[in-house]
């Protein structure tokens, strides 16, 4: 592992940790912390008598487990696609 990869991984872990701590602090403070996207959208929709509808199934609706399953499936599919092309990328198309 060269310095670039090692430092990138360290940076990734630090960024993730900062985001986790910030998210925990926000929700633990009990301030509600509703998303501004939703707040503004609801206000805008109310001026036009509109309401958001759910067309796409939301994996979050199945609780934390839904998100775990959703992200795992996405990771598996992306991993297979990426792995399939890896030989082309690394070996310049010398697929066995």
């Amino acid at each position: 592992m060269d310095n670039f990869v090692r430092n990138s991984l360290i940076l990734l872990v630090i960024c993730t940790a900062v985001m986790c701590v910030a998210a925990y602090a926000g929700y633990a403070s009990g301030a509600g912390m509703e998303g501004t996207d939703g707040i503004v959208e609801e206000h805008a929709a109310s001026t036009g008598g509109l309401e958001a509808v759910e067309i796409v199934p939301n994996v979050g609706a199945y609780g934390d487990m839904g998100e775990y399953v959703g992200f795992t499936l996405a990771g598996i599919i992306a991993g297979f696609i990426f792995g399939y092309f890896w030989i082309d990328i690394k070996e310049g198309g010398q697929r066995a």
Binding site: A23, T36, D37, A45, A52, A61, A74, G93
Partner: protein, 219 residues
């Protein structure tokens, strides 16, 4: 900046889809061309796609306003892999976001325009402009992140106003912008910091990656 299904009129959904599809088509052509020239462009694209997906879906609390929002990540991606490719990455990330209750399918075009086109091109343009007048890499990259982030949200406000309040677009554009700005400004500063840090880091340690892939590190 994620607008949900059912909020925009059909007419505006189609308009934003058409605009987005033009840029996506140009982006796919650009990706094909660069991948043929440099196969290692593909894994970097995948990395940037994953980064945009995570950055633009992770709501970060802003305690001073009692609400939360997210950066967009597309200015950083535009500097590293190019703006047209970033539009494609942005559209793909937004499709996945729709499954996490962020955005929607009918509003995919509108969300791609705000995050993938305006956020990308204004950020990229800011970076190139500042580099041409000899600003350092980190200031140019940071300002790209800041400008791209803020203008992305102003575009979302405009999309809402155009569709929902056609009789008083400017008034409602200002109103919705004021709703976004207090929470978004601190996050635009965060976008300044991480865009500057990441681009400066790549420029210092592996400029060959960007130079080989036709990015804009050298302005």
């Amino acid at each position: 900046m994620h607008i949900s299904d059912g909020i925009l009129s059909t007419q505006w959904c189609i308009v934003w889809y058409v605009v987005a599809l033009v840029f996506i088509a140009l982006g796919i052509r650009e990706i094909k061309r660069r991948t043929e020239e440099t196969p290692s462009y593909m894994p970097l694209l995948a990395l940037m796609g994953a980064a945009i997906f995570v950055i633009a879906v992770w709501h970060i609390p802003v305690p001073v306003t009692g609400s939360c929002s997210h950066p967009i990540g597309t200015p950083m991606s535009a500097i590293v892999v190019g703006p047209f490719a970033t539009v494609v990455l942005s559209a793909i990330a937004l499709i996945f976001h729709a499954f996490l209750a962020h955005g929607g399918i009918t509003t995919l075009g509108a969300n791609t325009v705000s995050m993938g086109i305006v956020g990308t091109f204004t950020g990229y343009g800011t970076y190139v402009l500042l580099r041409r007048v000899n600003f350092s890499v980190w200031i140019a990259a940071g300002m790209a992140g800041f400008v791209g982030d803020v203008l992305c949200y102003l575009t979302t406000a405009m999309e809402l106003a155009l569709s929902i309040n056609p009789g008083s677009v400017l008034y409602h554009w200002g109103l919705y912008s004021l709703g976004f700005v207090p929470t978004q400004l601190p996050l635009a500063v965060a976008e300044f910091i991480f865009t500057a840090a990441i681009v400066k880091y790549i420029a210092d340690t592996r400029p060959d990656i960007i130079a080989k892939l036709g990015g804009a590190i050298d302005g």
